[in-house]
């Protein structure tokens, strides 16, 4: 049996600086042992523990989609010990990757439904994974309308800029990108995510909202969706907590009797209502 | 004692400087408690008019672990103090122990068992303990060989399981983030590695120069019975012998590490090639 504490060796294949402030980068890893890629079969919404020699581990949501073969991507903001060390790394460096961990976006539940994806800032990563998964080849047929509302503070802080452009070209996607404040070159929407949600006003019919973003965005976005008539069962979000083991043993990321690392990070609002508000 | 600092900090949290209000907290203080208060005041953790000190003289307190050893490890179910005797119901029958035999070590040689500062005093002054003997233990230890001292230090530190009870109980340990818990950089490992434990304890002890008031809290809370006082008392002795300072013994003193006496400080530690 695979020892869940031991990472798979991976090599940093590509580093993409995502934002103007340069503190968010996307790291593309390739598995050193090709067979490990099979073992690392993941679903959008899951996360991995990035493991750096002598620095430790950091739990990060998987930003690539399982339909993208040959690599895994993580978009990481420079913050603590591990992520800072990661930002220092060069392409070609060997490091470790543990996982995939946690549950995932509930793909089976989403199937056949209209999907509204709401993302804010840096939390867009696992949503990007989900979008890329849903629009890949025949997968697209399994889902109804897909509406994406994505906001960042300013144009420079938008992640995956090239992909956003590609997505906007498709006619089977309704992409709404907004920034709190634009700049001279910005031609898109301006305004906060909750306001744009109101404006786009996705229908609640056969629809599920998948929301991920900073707490303040979530706080103001939820009322909009309640007003639109979305039930708590049909609003899905992903939690963040301090984690260590990632497998429900070390005891710090529990919310009530659920471990965010093992039973989460994805919960519906209805499920969250049953848990304690300790997150 | 921590509550005092925490209470003051919390009352000031998210408050603009000009809006800060003084918050007066009453403290019932024994001699050693007043020494801690003085240290806090010297270190500007709160102002003198933010504490109202109710001073109580102190006859010493019972060393629970010592008491347990004294009665052969039996479980104490009930107890009362009566005329210098502790009378107990234990799992091994009724036992009586003389109070003076089970006072904490720090109390037996206490020099400051009457409050040093107070706003209100309760009770009549407590009789003197035996301060002349306070460094006997240290002197005896100093006379041992280097290797004997190291062996003892090692043995004591091996008992430590890093539960942090000593630090949490210490009135002088109030750093918002202890060096042990800093991660950038990490000064000391968090595991049970011998050297990490030694470094943790050594650093914590050493941070007590001019600040340990010999209240005995760390010793009394230690679940594993580490002999911390053996080392803290040395720090106290050095501070007295080198700088003529006893931690928290007077409001007018400056912390000993915050000053320098050109005429009396010894120079022999300075290296001159």
């Amino acid at each position: 049996m695979q020892n869940p504490y031991i990472p798979y060796p991976v090599v940093v294949d590509k580093i993409i600086t995502e934002v103007d402030t340069k503190d968010i980068k996307t790291f593309r890893f390739k598995f050193v042992n090709p067979e490990d890629e099979q073992k690392y079969a993941y679903i959008p919404g899951q996360f991995g523990e990035l493991s750096i020699y002598g620095k430790g581990e950091s739990p990060i949501g998987i930003a690539s989609s399982p339909t993208q073969k040959g690599y895994v991507e993580f978009t990481v903001q420079k913050a603590g010990v591990v992520t800072s060390a990661l930002h220092e790394m060069e392409e070609g460096t060997l490091m470790g990757l543990r996982g995939p961990l946690g549950n995932s976006w509930p793909l089976e539940f989403l199937e056949g439904k209209n999907i509204v994806i709401v993302g804010g800032g840096f939390a867009f990563t696992t949503l990007r994974s989900l979008i890329n998964y849903m629009i890949y080849g025949d997968n697209r047929k399994r889902f109804g309308n897909i509406t994406v509302i994505y906001g960042a503070r300013n144009p420079g802080l938008l992640l995956y800029k090239d992909e956003l452009i590609e997505w906007q070209k498709r006619d089977d996607l309704n992409i709404n990108v907004t920034v709190d404040k634009g700049d001279a070159t910005w031609k898109g929407k301006e305004g906060f995510v909750p306001a744009v949600c109101k404006e786009v006003a996705p229908s609640k019919e056969n629809a599920v909202a998948v929301i991920c973003g900073p707490p303040v965005m979530i706080r103001f976005t939820l009322p909009v969706f309640f007003e639109l008539g979305f039930s708590k069962e049909n609003i899905i979000t992903s939690l963040e907590m301090r984690m260590k083991c990632g497998i429900g043993k070390c005891g710090r990321c529990n919310v009530g009797s659920k471990y965010v690392c093992k039973d989460g990070p994805v919960f519906s609002l209805a499920e969250l209502d049953k848990l304690t508000p300790e997150y | 004692m921590h509550d005092l600092i925490t209470a003051h900090k919390n009352s000031q949290k998210r408050v603009k400087p000009e809006d800060r209000k003084k918050k007066v907290i009453g403290v019932v203080a024994r001699g050693c408690t007043t020494r801690s208060l003085i240290i806090h005041l010297q270190e500007r953790q709160y102002e003198r008019d933010e504490v109202c000190i109710i001073g109580v003289p102190c006859d010493g307190y019972v060393d629970g672990k010592g008491l347990k050893v004294k009665i052969g490890g039996a479980d104490i179910v009930e107890g009362s103090i009566d005329g210098g005797q502790i009378k107990m119901k234990t799992s091994d029958g009724d036992k009586t122990v003389a109070l003076k035999d089970v006072l904490a070590d720090s109390c037996l040689t206490c020099r400051f068992n009457n409050p040093i500062i107070s706003d209100i005093m309760i009770g009549s002054p407590a009789p003197a303990m035996n301060p002349d003997a306070e460094y006997n233990d240290v002197k005896e230890f100093e006379a041992k060989t280097m290797e004997e001292r190291w062996a003892y230090f090692t043995k004591e530190m091996e008992k430590c399981m890093r539960c942090n009870a000593c630090r949490q109980a210490c009135p002088s340990c109030y750093c918002p983030t202890c060096f042990v818990e800093q991660s950038q950089p990490q000064w000391v490992g968090i595991g049970e590695d011998k050297s990490d434990t030694q470094v943790f304890q050594f650093m914590r002890l050493y941070h007590m120069v001019g600040r340990c008031v010999d209240c005995g809290s760390c010793v009394s809370v230690c679940p594993m019975g580490v002999d911390l006082r053996k080392f803290l008392k040395k720090i106290d002795k050095d501070c007295w012998e080198m700088f003529g300072n006893r931690a928290g013994s007077g409001m007018e003193d400056m912390p000993p590490l915050g000053k320098y006496d050109e005429h009396h400080d010894k120079q022999d530690f300075i290296y001159n090639p």
Partner: protein
């Protein structure tokens, strides 16, 4: 001040059984190149004479 810290540190190290001479304290001005060289030379000799440190030294693995 720093000097008092060093004085107590040296004494405390000795007390727990670690050679206090492993710490060295002196004053050197930025302009005293010669003295600096002397201090370092002397310090190195002193430390060498004490041999490798094996107390409070961490081993991994």
């Amino acid at each position: 001040m720093a000097r008092r810290k060093f004085a107590t540190l040296k004494s405390f190290l000795n007390y727990i059984g670690v050679e206090g001479d492993r710490t060295i304290f002196t004053w050197v001005s930025a302009s005293e190149g010669d003295r600096w060289a002397q201090v370092i030379k002397g310090a190195t000799e002193k430390i060498k004479a004490l041999g490798p440190a094996n107390k409070m030294v961490k081993t991994i693995g």
